[in-house]
Symmetry: none
Subunit: 253 residues, 2 copies
């Protein structure tokens, strides 16, 4: 099931004149080339149908096809029978979001030695909150992974990952990167929504992070999804306040 968009034209009509020295199909090709390369049609990357184009420009379908064919030869367009004409080289700026990386991958990219101390790994039933976040049936089984994260030797974060057992059957079956392990099992993380806020550390966590009670911390909740949109992992992390996170934002052009 493909999604193409026979969107409401968006093509600017002009008057083509048969009396000009330039043949109609070339006049039309020129006009369409302008519209395409100027990016006015970039929104919908599909063109209106040949019949509709013929109508709006007051020429026959063959003329339209000839114009479109010459643009195809230039590499601007491609077509599919039964489907339509599509713009090839949309100068469409790819919207780059932050990359989804695991802690392990993240630290090594910053040249830090990542250390992990296991605080617990177990299988149990999902709490109502987890079931909601992971879209599970009530009391469905999940793996809980509780880890203390180190940068070199400094405690950096406490992380509690929750993954349904249907994606991660055995919490002891891996030792390094959770994401790498999930990828190996055919459940590659594809996208995540992350929510950050600032909190005061409760005594228990403060002790584990070797910080004074009530110290500020970055609280990060993350839901990770498979490519088909199914929730794969729910993570709640407390980072020490002087750790930081980068975010890039871009405007659309």
């Amino acid at each position: 099931m493909s999604i193409n968009a026979p969107e409401a034209s968006g093509i600017e009509p002009i008057e083509l004149s048969p009396s000009l020295p330039l043949p109609l199909y070339l006049q039309l090709a020129k006009h369409l080339r302008n519209q395409i390369t100027s990016g006015k049609l970039a929104e919908y990357n599909a063109l209106p149908g040949e019949r509709e184009l013929a109508e709006t420009f007051g020429v026959s379908r063959v003329t339209v096809r000839k114009a479109l064919s010459s643009l195809t030869a230039e590499g601007l367009l491609n077509k599919r029978q039964g489907s339509g004409w599509f713009i090839n080289n949309s100068p469409h700026v790819e919207q780059r979001l932050s990359a989804l990386t695991s802690f392990t991958e993240d630290m090594s990219s910053r040249g830090l030695q990542s250390g992990t101390v296991w605080l617990g790994r177990s299988i149990s039933h999902a709490t109502p909150e987890e079931a909601l976040a992971l879209n599970l049936r009530p009391r469905e089984e999940v793996v809980r992974l509780n880890r203390l994260r180190l940068a070199d030797t400094t405690p950096l974060a406490i992380e509690l990952s929750v993954v349904p057992t249907k994606f991660l059957p055995d919490p002891f079956a891996f030792d390094g990167s959770l994401y790498q392990h999930l990828r190996n099992l055919g459940h590659a993380p594809h996208r995540a929504l992350q929510r950050l806020s600032a909190v005061r550390l409760i005594p228990d966590l403060a002790r584990q992070l070797e910080l004074p009670e009530g110290a500020p911390a970055l609280y990060i909740e993350r839901r990770t999804f498979l490519e088909n949109g199914t929730p794969l992992e729910f993570v709640a992390s407390h980072y020490r306040g002087d750790a930081y996170d980068f975010v890039v934002e871009l405007t659309l052009t």
Copy 2:
């Protein structure tokens, strides 16, 4: 209350027209996308069943499924057989990520009244730190804008923006959105790099935010750039930790 109980619809019905150039399932997808991203259908909630949706919009179930499938591909929804369709995204995801928005624009898109209390606007020489962040010559002139940000009537953040006078000659020449004003002057912000961390509020800021001393806050440093990469603005903000969630979307490349 069962987690899977479909919420009392809450879907606003519209009339879908087969005569429009856009196929029915895309018309429906568009409408549902609006409802979700505008926050009228909140994160974690279930959608009405496919049959019910088909009924309310007067189309077949297959059409509904096609619309829902395309939204799933966008990452907005996920489903579970025998259970239903669930909403992944929180409403402001779209705002925060795909667009570089100012506080003013951000708040109004969420239906909140954004208030601003001016704490100071002045022209002075850049500090060494600012000169570094903005890539200025030492002692080049900058505008300093210090604002208290309100959501409705609650203090939400303290913001200190620094902009070189070559981009913003007069700190008093605008009153609403700084970004809108800069765009009008031909200096459209195009990209931003943010750094977030958690801090304890110093007494001065705590008082202004009407919070107890030492309360946790999100400290956000932002550098905004023009399209050609020139630094345009440096902002240091303190958001109250209990009132503001930052949402970030991450994807694999």
